[in-house]
């Protein structure tokens, strides 16, 4: 049943890629607009945010990638029991190749050994798939595009960290996050959004930190202690004065999302995934036969 409909899946996923690459989610665009109101009119921070807003509008109008770095493609699928994920992987790969040929994606996957770019962005490690089985009959498909500049300033801390005075507690976590924001300055395309994982291991920490970007900006942690920490880090971060593109200003981050995973006794990691202002996240809900139910976000 599924394979017959492969072309339909491919079409929907192509559309998901196109919309993710060319348009910001409404909550992110709203946050940028609000940030601009806080800045001094005519100043560089105000100007940068204005340029960003104009760029978002232009990208939407011209149906063009809003940032040339179309990033790593991370797909998050929640599928019903018994669903053929192999066919979904195939349809997604085809959709990516189509989107690359259509100019919605840059040739962004490069072989690090030979230095040669892959033609279509379908390559080892590209895209990144995450599958989970859900209880519903629908397929929940989400995509996050994260550019290289912001990936380069993401960081992982091993606690205790003497230099930062960071112990194995929430105050230590706070110190790590603020340090990461300071280290990043404007290089990750500030104002940024932070996905943080407390605990886990080297691999799961980064993975979990990144998956926090699936949350809407105003979605607080359900854990009240972490929700308080999110608010406090955001408040402090914006007092740092790094500002848009590191040129100074009142907005350094738009959102802080913190979550925790269990850790082993010997390891206490804090992983900070830094996302640029261009948080490209989209999602859709599909029927088991590939019909579009609705767009998410």
């Amino acid at each position: 049943m599924f394979s017959v409909r492969k072309s339909l899946w491919r079409e929907h996923i192509f559309d998901l890629i196109r919309r993710t690459a060319t348009d910001l989610p409404a909550d992110v665009e709203r946050a940028i607009r609000r940030a601009q109101l806080r800045e001094k009119r005519g100043g560089n921070a105000w100007w940068v945010l204005g340029e960003i807003l104009q760029n978002v509008k232009l990208a939407r109008r011209h149906d063009a990638p809003l940032c040339q770095d179309t990033g790593t493609l991370s797909f998050y699928f929640i599928v019903p029991p018994g669903f053929d994920t192999n066919a979904l992987v195939g349809a997604t790969r085809e959709a990516i190749a189509m989107a690359t040929r259509a100019g919605y994606l840059r040739q962004n996957a490069i072989d690090p050994v030979s230095g040669v770019p892959y033609q279509t962005n379908v390559a080892p490690g590209s895209p990144v798939f995450s599958f989970r089985q859900g209880a519903r009959k629908t397929v929940d498909a989400r995509l996050i595009m994260k550019g290289g500049g912001s990936e380069n300033v993401s960081a992982q801390y091993v606690l205790p960290d003497g230099e930062l005075g960071a112990d194995r507690d929430l105050e230590g976590v706070r110190r790590c996050i603020l340090d990461a924001i300071w280290q990043a300055q404007g290089q990750g395309c500030a104002p940024g959004i932070l996905g943080v994982c407390v605990g886990g291991d080297r691999a799961s920490g980064y993975e979990h930190a990144k998956s926090q970007f699936l949350r809407k900006l105003n979605e607080r942690s359900p854990n009240r202690t972490l929700a308080r920490l999110e608010a406090s880090v955001m408040w402090d971060a914006n007092k740092l004065g790094v500002g848009p593109m590191g040129l100074g200003g009142r907005t350094t981050v738009f959102g802080v999302h913190i979550d925790a995973l269990s850790r082993v006794p010997a390891t206490y990691l804090v992983t900070v995934s830094y996302m640029c202002w261009a948080l490209r996240r989209r999602g859709m809900l599909l029927g088991p036969e590939g019909g579009l139910k609705r767009w998410l976000y």
């Binding site: 500049g149 380069n152 593109m245």
Partner: protein
Amino acid sequence: MSKTLEYPFTAAKVRSLKLGHRVCVSGLIFTGRDKFHRYLFQGGKSPVNLADGAIFHAGPVMARKHGKWVVLSAGPTTSARMDSYMPRLIEQHKIRVIIGKGGMSDATRQACAKHGCVYLEAVGGAAVTVAQCVKDVCGVHLLAEFGEAEAVWALTVKGLRAVVAIDAMGRSLQKRVRQSSKRMLAKMLK
């Protein structure tokens, strides 16, 4: 409000730019990033004349329409990655204008002061805005060797907007922000 800066970017024009001021760049510019900088640094011959020219740290999304290249999306990339090559290239190739994002190191800053070069901060991620400023793709070099994103694209732009983040006296906006935010951070972590 903003000053216009037109190709060729002579020393006099570049020295008249003030830190923190906004500029509109027009004329010929060349894209170049990681691979191109390394190539030049290792003594590779530049396929274009960079003297009094501008190098734009960018890897655009290009498309071919009616047999001609067009820029779809072309924002700046992080300039810090070019820091280890930049001072020598400014000196050897007489580059006068660097357009990028995120700021550059002290060594680059000093090279700017010594040889009369400025660093302009374009807005990272604002890639369609930049693409709209491109009036013509004059040519492409090292495409087969480096690939689309790393190739050297010769572009004619009109009104590309940026902020002077390192001026020809070697003062840096980002450095100031880094220092002031460091003091703030120290206060918070007390």
